[in-house]
Symmetry: C2
Subunit: 395 residues, 2 copies
């Protein structure tokens, strides 16, 4: 057996990892806008990137490197370096070359960016700023702040995993993303560091599994940004590893961060869990759960705290999955509002269901009533603030 302990430190919680975030003038009013994550020994790196065909330059740059071990990630906010063509790749090479000249201990550095699409990287500013880095700093808080865009709070977490034989390893993470409700723009970045003695292939396989039920379950409809990135760096310094424990910790951390992103959804006031069960298979349950978390009508009903279950039924019906009103049931937390064709909703039930919707977090459970397929997705409401943030994003 093993034990998971939540610990401090974010991406610096694991042995041998350093990080910081500084202000170099990309954001206004002194806000931190450039971060690094550094390991003093080489790391195996696992990665998951956006499926968007307009892949941003940092991701194309990373992929072009092929197989490699590295020990450094540079992250800037305010500029996505997307839709910038070959010039965008050249900009990254120039920045990273300058960085290696300044810090010879850096090996195979990579870059990650988030911000506005279609503007060339302010590389002079970034090179000048990055030269100020102090690679001995272990400030996971500042790093998590520097990668924020429209996020209203920084997101980080770390676990210590203690194994039965007394050995232990640590995993730390930070993420940015405010609004999985609009993943096409609000880039999701997540950086995870670990001193577990895990090889790249094992780590990649575990990461792929965990992404499906965490970040991808919070994603609305696979409509990912040009820059979405999850990187895991493992330097093996603890000498310890346990696959099951590693997976459990990684999944718990990623689910926590995914939910934090939804909770921080632009203009969101509620975190809603959509649990779909009884579909003919897990894939159809996933389609229905994501259709619900993505529906403008459901989102606005949530914002209005209106237990408008008809919109939920209609959204499931429109999602294309196999379903029939005679077998469907719908709950708001424990309150059943529709049961296998029976109209339960009435004047007595309405305030009880409405009370559930006034909570800042609750579950909408839809049982399709056919087979055993289940999936859980996470979403938020859509209010006036979302329109305001996104109508004026660039100004």
């Amino acid at each position: 057996m093993y034990k998971l302990n939540c610990i401090e430190g974010g991406v610096c919680a694991a042995e041998g990892f350093y990080a910081d975030g500084i202000h170099i003038g990309l954001k206004k009013e002194g806000a931190k806008d450039l971060a690094f994550v550094y390991s003093d020994t080489p790391c195996a790196i696992a990665s998951v990137f956006t499926t968007n065909k307009m892949t941003a330059a940092p991701i194309r740059h990373f992929r072009a490197k092929g197989e490699f071990e590295g020990n450094f990630v540079l992250i800037n906010s305010k500029n996505a370096n997307a839709m910038t063509g070959k010039a965008g790749i050249d900009d990254i090479d120039e920045v990273l070359d300058a960085l290696q000249s300044a810090f010879p201990q850096i090996q195979n550095p990579v870059m990650s960016s988030t911000g506005v699409i279609g503007v060339r990287l302010p590389k002079a500013k970034i090179i000048e700023g990055a030269r100020q880095f102090d690679l001995t700093r272990r400030d996971g808080i500042s790093a998590s702040e520097a990668i924020m865009t429209t996020d209203t709070f920084a997101k980080r977490i770390a676990y210590e995993v203690v194994l039965e034989n007394g050995q232990s390893f640590r995993i730390g993470a930070m993420a940015k993303g405010a609004g999985m409700i609009n993943p096409a723009m609000a880039t999701m970045l997540c950086f995870i560091t670990t001193d577990a003695a895990v090889d790249k292939a094992t780590m990649q396989a575990i990461l792929d599994e965990c992404v499906h039920t965490t970040f991808n379950a919070a994603s609305v409809d696979g409509d990912t940004s040009t820059n979405d990135t999850v990187l895991v760096m493992a330097n093996a310094k603890s000498g310890a590893f346990h696959a099951e424990a590693f997976k459990e910790a990684l999944e718990a951390m990623m689910l926590f961060l995914a939910k934090e992103m939804v909770r921080d959804g632009e203009g969101a006031t509620k975190l809603v869990t959509y649990h779909v069960s009884g579909a003919i298979n897990a894939h159809e349950a996933e389609i229905a759960a994501k259709a619900l978390s993505n529906s403008l009508l459901v989102k606005t009903a949530l914002f209005g705290q209106d237990p408008n279950w008809g919109r939920i039924a209609s959204t499931i019906g429109a999602s294309g999955i196999m379903c029939d009103e005679a077998f469907l049931s719908i709950w708001f937390d424990d309150v059943c509002v529709y049961k296998k064709g029976e109209l339960l909703f009435n004047e007595e039930l309405e305030p009880i269901a409405a009370a559930v919707m006034q909570k800042s977090a609750f579950t909408i459970h839809c049982d399709i009533g056919l087979q055993d397929g289940a999936f859980t997705a996470y979403g938020c409401d859509l209010g006036h603030e979302y329109v305001k943030i996104n109508a004026d994003y660039r100004t």
Copy 2:
């Protein structure tokens, strides 16, 4: 050759058709809420219905009739008669039986409903109200008003088609739907009447073709409501028909109504045409065009009058179609903001592009730059009003 003349009269423009809309107490403050369309001779009827699996009772009732000729459609607003199971069908039978007792000239009547999901039809009120109908009235305006829900204006149109041999026929239509931006709730209903001498099979084939480039192009993502309905009734009274002219008139009318619905989109301030060309085929162009018209980020940028072309590129990239930034070009009307990998956007171009977006109607043209696949979709912006209308819909 033939000539199309726009004429008055809506669904009463064609010979032998009668219609009216009255208030029976479903809506507040005397607003019309119950309508009929009647032909004094039997009609061939073509139809297109929602693909939503939670199909509303009126549609299941219509389909259960099999092949039939009919001369009467009863339409109510405020209640969708959806998610009401077998009882919902029985309610329709009861209403229509009562109607036929009161008006023996009615043959094979059908019903159409729009409004809140999951509430039984107020059938006593509807039966009592329908008995007040005067089947000799030809008031297409009142009928088009009675079928409105969140629509801010009534939608109708009619054409006279004059053939080369001097013969002519008429087609009239009315529609409701405010917000193809939220087709999952804002049911789209359209009723078309014609005195053309067209058989059912021909009419159905023409209707199916026209729906694809009109109502379905204005639909966001195929996410249709439980009640969406297009019915065409033909009584052949003119004795005239010309397939090409009929199709041209029908398509023009349906496109007009589809655009009117988008223009009346809940909270919308702009009608945007998304023209995608250069995709590897028409299907991929359609996917991209609908992804754009459906993107929250694009919609909010439109509302903010922000020429944020990066969101457009990202949305195309995320749509899953074959594309590459090196071949993509983007225009706002005639203003090219991105040309095959070249970043044209700068401080000089920004106000010119922004000026286009200040118009109440304009075109976003994206050329994928690969093959000849093209499609045109129609959408609108998403502003504060949308959130307000939909957060408080039931109250």
